[in-house]
Structures are given as C-alpha cells and as structure tokens.
Symmetry: C2
Subunit: 452 residues, 2 copies
C-alpha cells in the first residue's frame, strides 16, 4: 500500500489533474492521496496559498475582500469547469471561501492558519469529486476524521503521538482517501498548520501512520540531482539515497524536500520516492533506510554559503577541563546555534551560519571569550562556504578524501577547514565563498565525470 503526495504545481490545472488521475489509476496500491493547494500554472501565476494570505490581510485590515474572494473562487472554478465537475462542488468551495470572512478576528490565534489551510482543504474536496466522476472509489477525508491531531501552536503544529493509532485504522478502508496536506486539527477542533515542508509532512505522517510500503512524493522534477544544476551542467540524477545522505545534502543546500518533513517516514522506516508528475515513467530518486545495492562511494555534492567561523586560540587550551563546554555555554546563552567545532590542540573554531552572528552578538562573544575565558586570540572569519561530499559507502572506499583534497589542490582552492566525522556519511570542507562554484565543479568532475 502506498501513500502518494502531489505538490502544488502537479495540481495547478485540469491538465495536471488528468495526469494525477492517471498516476493514481495506474496502481491499485495508491490508496492515500495527500494534496497541496493549486500552485502556479506558469511563472507569472499566483499560488492559491499566496492569494489566501492577501485575503487574510485584507480581512483583518477590515478592507473590502470581495475581489480576493472572487479571484480564489475563480481559480477553482477554472479547474471545475474544465473538468466538468458541476455546480455542487463549486458551490461548496465558494461557500467555504466566503465563510472565512465570517470568522472572528479578535482572540482567534488560529485565524491565519485557518485561512491558509483552505487552499489544501478545498483542493482535496475538488480532487475527490474529480476521482469519483472518473469511477474511482474515492473520498475526501478531513484531518480530524483521519486523526491528524496536533498541538495548539499556530504555524508550528506538531503531531500528537497518539494520532498514529487513529491513522492506522485507515489501513482497512477500501476507499481511496483524499487528504488535504499542510494542517491538522487541535484537540479543540482548531485548524493548525505545520511549520515547514507544507504538505510533505502530512504525507510523511500518513505514510508512517498507515504503515505504507512506500511514500511517493510527486513533484515537478525527475528526482534529486547529484549536484546543483545551476552550477554543474546537466548533472546526473540520484537513483537511490539513504535518509542520512538526504539529511546531509539538505543541510548543505539541497532543497527538494524539507528534511524535517521526513522525520515521521524515517522513524516509521517507510521508504520514499521523489517522482515527477510530468514524467511518471522516470524512476525518480528513492530514499531508503539502507542502501540495497553496492552503490558508488559518493552520491551527491552539496554546497552552501554564508558561514562564519569564530577562531579561538589559547596556549594550553587543551589542558583546561571544561573549556569547550564554556565556549558553547556562552553561545547558548546568546541563543546562537553553531554547526561545527573543528579543534586543534590550542585552538578551536566555531562554524556557524552568518545570520546567527549579528554585530551585537559578535561583540558580545569576543568580549566574553576574552574576559571570561581569557583566550589569547579571537578572530571572526566571514564569507565561508561549506562543501560536502556525501555517501554512506565512502567508509568502504579508501581514498575518497584524498581524491577530493587533490581536486581542490589542483584548482588552487585553499581548504580553510576539513572535517570528516566517524560516521563517514560525509566529508565537509570549509572554503572561501568566492571559490564555491569552482569547488563543486571540481568535485563533480572527480566523482561523477561531468558530461561535456
């Protein structure tokens, strides 16, 4: 049994929905369909969700909202008319959109979430109608009935663990259930949205809950590329990735799926595949727990910029019990999240994302390190990039780091830092941002042999 999720661009028009129908129709195991709100039909188009944000803002500003409502209704109407779904569903959706403007504004923590969720919710109803008209035994199911019960944190809902028991009962349904993504309901029946990853997280939760054999995530790309196609010309796409590899790639700039959205599927040990609605015969990229075949040592090369390094040195630092902990304590008290701590003997660096280090925090850190920890030197290094080569099979291949370092050396790229942890899922290089693209190309050339 499979849980299948479609992103906004896969659901933007009648033509796209026909593809979706064919995909669902072509495999009886596709029993749970999680849907986003209609996305853009072309580059100039507006996403329904963005239109709902405008509608919300006009409403709370007590402006006339008729135009906002009409635009959104028209958006659904276009699809309904083209698919010839009839008046009934259009009326339902029209009422739902207009009714948003009857919700209380004062003391309503969930108002924004309720507006936003309408995009997914109404689309799920529309798609259920479309499937039924095409003789599928399909039914819209709202998150409450499905059992997606969440904490009362608007915009940042987290699933209550007890939800999984309720979700599991859906296994026995003989219908194709169409579930709106992106939100759940609280114990008090309030609509509350997830923080990030939109509908991906709903798909992940449902897949874990019904103990699916596979979570299929349909988007508008053929899968994940081994390197950024904006940097490397026509990079290979990755056929198989482990969750750990995916995490490492996502960390350093890969953004096909938000990694947080993957947790339920990962914890539920559900394999995931990223596929293309517009090219469903392409096998896509499979994300699994352990590699099945003997794959290449490196699966992908990622790079991300705007890192900063705080370089600290103190003679005999190494002998001071608690020194490192005290440094981290200072950062924690300033609410600064760090990424890596490469250490020498009498020096240590704290690598963090540039946005974490505001000018005031920078001054405070320097002052505290000097005053409290009596460091000899502290220096802030900006404009750094992290480049990562990722692959769980690196550990069984001696010489991967050597090859990578050689590739850098040949291109005269200076390694500011290197870190290769014991897990050997990845090797991380810190370099100057001005050399980032060269570095990624050099590594791609080394590990994948770029075409042309």
């Amino acid at each position: 049994m499979k849980v299948i999720k479609f992103g906004g661009s896969s659901l933007a028009s009648a033509a796209q929905l026909e593809k979706v129908l064919n995909i669902v129709n072509s495999d009886d195991d596709r029993r749970f369909v999680v849907v986003s709100a209609p996305g853009k039909r072309d580059a100039k188009d507006t996403k329904v969700t963005d239109a709902l944000v405008k509608y919300y803002k006009a409403y709370i500003a007590e402006k006339d909202v008729t135009e906002n409502q009409n635009w959104i209704i028209q958006r659904y109407r276009d699809i309904i008319d083209e698919l010839k779904l009839g008046q009934n569903i259009l009326e339902k959706i029209t009422k739902a959109i207009i009714d948003l403007a009857n919700l209380p504004i004062d003391n309503n923590r969930f108002l924004y979430d309720t507006f936003l969720a309408a995009g997914e919710d109404n689309n799920a109803k529309l798609i259920a109608e479309f499937f039924k008209k095409n003789n599928l035994n399909a039914r819209y199911i709202n998150p409450k009935e499905a059992g997606i019960i969440v904490t009362s944190e608007p915009g940042n809902a987290r699933l209550l663990p007890s939800s999984y028991d309720k979700l599991e009962e859906l296994r026995d349904s003989d219908e194709i259930l169409i579930i709106p993504g992106f939100f759940g309901v609280t114990a008090d029946d309030q609509i509350c949205t997830f923080s990030r990853g939109g509908s991906d997280i709903t798909g992940s939760i449902v897949a874990a809950g019904v103990k699916a054999d596979l979570y299929e995530n349909f988007t508008d790309v053929d899968g994940i590329f081994a390197a950024h196609p904006g940097i490397v010309h026509k990079p290979d796409s990755i056929s198989e990735l482990t969750y750990r590899e995916m995490r490492e790639l996502a960390y350093a700039g890969f953004s096909v799926l938000h990694d947080e959205a993957l947790i339920p599927a990962y914890r539920g040990k559900i394999p995931l595949v990223i596929k293309n609605t517009n090219n469903p015969s392409h096998p896509g990229t499979k994300i699994i727990l352990e590699h099945t075949s003997h794959s290449a040592p490196v699966v992908g090369i990622a790079g991300d910029n705007d890192f900063v390094s705080i370089n600290i040195s103190k003679y005999l630092m190494n002998r001071e019990v608690g020194f490192g902990r005290k440094v981290l304590q200072i950062l924690e008290e300033l609410n600064i999240r760090w990424e890596h701590i490469p250490t020498g003997i009498d020096d240590m660096s704290i690598v963090l994302r540039g946005r974490e280090l505001t000018p005031i925090k920078e001054q405070e850190i320097i002052s505290q390190l000097t005053r409290k920890l009596e460091v000899d030197e502290v220096e802030i290094e900006r404009d750094l990039s992290i480049i990562m080569i990722v692959g769980e099979n690196m550990k069984s291949h001696i010489g991967v780091t050597s090859k990578a370092a050689e590739a850098f050396s040949k291109k005269h790229i200076n390694l500011e830092m290197i870190s290769q942890g014991s897990s050997e899922v990845s090797v991380m290089f810190v370099i100057k941002t001005e050399q980032e693209k060269d570095a990624i190309r050099a590594l791609y050339q080394t590990f994948f042999k770029a075409k042309d």
Copy 2:
C-alpha cells in the same frame, strides 16, 4: 644575556661537568645556569633524585637510613674528588644530606619535596664551587634569594606572578649565578617542587624573569627529530620550530621538553634552543615565536596511540540548540577530559584518551546519552591513534592535506576522522593504531623523503 639549563645526564660525572664548564666559559652571555640533580652515568646507574626518593621512604618508615645517606654522599664525593674540589664542599653536602633525616615527619606537607629538592640544591652548590675553582665569577644562589616564590602546593608548585619583579633584579648581577632547578620556596620558606618538566620549568621562569635573549636547554640529544627515530630510520632534526608547533608535536607524542615547562618562556617571548652537551657545536633545535625564514610547510610528524572515540548519532541532532553543550556537560560531570569533537550533521564524535574512559564511566556515558539526550545510536571505538602533521607554513601551501591523504590512501590506511582547524598549524588524522607506524612512515616519505 642567556639562561642556560643542564639536564641530569649533562651533570652526571666529572667528565660531563668539564663539558659544562667549557660551554659556559665559551660565551660571556651565559650568565644564569640552572642545574638538575646528577643523572645516570650509564644505563644501570641510579639517578640521585631516585636515590632521594628511597631515602625518604626509608626515613618515614623509620628504618635505618645510613646506607641511603652514604650512597648519595658517595655519589657527590666521586665528582668532588675527581674535580679536586676539596673537603669544604663535601662537608657542606654531607651535612645537608644527613640533616634531611632530622626534619619532622608529622604534619610536614613539604617533607617529600624537601628531600627531592636536595638533589638539585647540592648539585648547584657543587657546580658553583667547580666554576669558582676554574676562575669563573660564579655563585650558588638559592631559589629564595633568587625570588622564585611559589604557591604552597607540594609537588605542584606554581610561581607567584610577583616573583618576576624580584628575578628581574638579577639582571644587574655581574656574577654567573648557579640556580638549582625543580623547586621554589613558599612565602613560609618551605621547599616546594614543580609538578612536571623538572628543572626545565625553573630555566623557563628564570629566562622570563631576567628577560633573557635566549634560553638554552642542554640535554643529551642534538635537538628534536621530525619524526620518531624508533619509527623512521634516521629522521631529520628540526632546526627551527615555533612554540605553537612544539605544542602540537608534544601533544601527539613528542617528549623532549614538557610543554607546560615552556609557558613562562613563551609568555615572556623568550626564544629557546635545545642543544646537546655532548655535541655543543650542533646548532640544535630553536623554538621561537614566529618563523624567521621561509621554512618548509611541514616541520614534524607526530603520532600517539590509546585514543577512543565515542560516536553519537541522532536524526536532526543539528537542529537541537544546546545538544553539543549538553554532551560536553555530561563528560565534565564525569570528570572526563576530551580532545576533539569532529561533527557531521546528525552525528558527533568525542575523541579522548583511552585512560579517561574507565568501564564504569563508559557505561554511565552510554546510559546518560541514551536517557537524557535520547540519541539514536552511541558506539565506542577503541584502539585509535592520532597522527598529526605540524607546520605553521602549511597555511601558505595549498595541497598539504591532499598530499597527506594521498599518502594514506596509497598505503591502504583508512582515515577514521580528519580534522583541520582554522589555525592550520596542524592537520590531525585519526586512524586505527595497528596502522600508526605505516602512517608515520608514509607521511615522512611524502614530506621529508626518508634517507635509505
């Protein structure tokens, strides 16, 4: 003006003392002479300090100590007779050795230190006598008069910072001052010894105190080798090292000078040279603050074993503010000193010396990491070695890491971890101990081209 320190083997016999005299005589700048106790004359010999330990043990056990006293007195007598220094100095030393057995045993925290210090103290008197007899304007000066005033921590004395002012006054002396190493006196006139590095630390303190131009540390080797001569056949000796490089080498197994002994000289910005009493024309190894010449990128290769790695992984660890700090807190509460923390995205390793991780502490760590921090996995990896390539000029040479990694790869040595911090004074490799010697040889071959 130079402070010159001689180790025990340089002072073990009349023949050695003649060499010492020639060395001091050959340079008018050698104005402060710090001396150890007489060392071994050959492999089977006993150091005077070790004989004093036995004497102390017999004394506090209330055994007959005559034989202990006689052995030590005879040891000095041999030298005095051969140098024809006469009865006066012998009587002084005899009395000093015998008088130790009149000191109070009860409530005497400084008794052990006082016994031990007698080795250096009497040797300084003897050497002053010898120098005077050879027409040097030399004088024994005890640490109290010199101003080496220390904290009341037996076996672990630390210099009181105010001592430096007193020491500085010695600059104006027109005598050659002979200072016993290894101990100072407390504010209450008790003899109290330094923890480690023996007389090296006294030399370092005096050099800093009198603001010497050079601190000459005479020992029985031509200097520091670029790699361990037990592993690499006839390694090069290093002509010039910075203090930072010395620290890094000392960390990973080099042990010519105890690095803690260097702090006063380092802080006082005094250059140091390690020379050979038995081969004084050899330039030795100079330890300085900054490289003067454009030296090679790598100055030395060190290796040390008995490291352990605690490998921790937790999905989305990277998102948890305070995770790393909490791990270090657990270690600190268990009084465990760590060395390095290579981090991946969802994993982190703690590298520490094997002796830090007793079986009980190991269980406690695993239990706390699992219970308090809910890690997914924790694994303990033993029998690891740290290999370091050290050199401040590495930062201006692209490709050093690449060369090193390639050398390992060619010898099929798997890198468990790599860490290259921002300081680039060293690159650290963690490998399995069984491959340590091969690794050092491969690196030496790469960076120094071994002879033979």
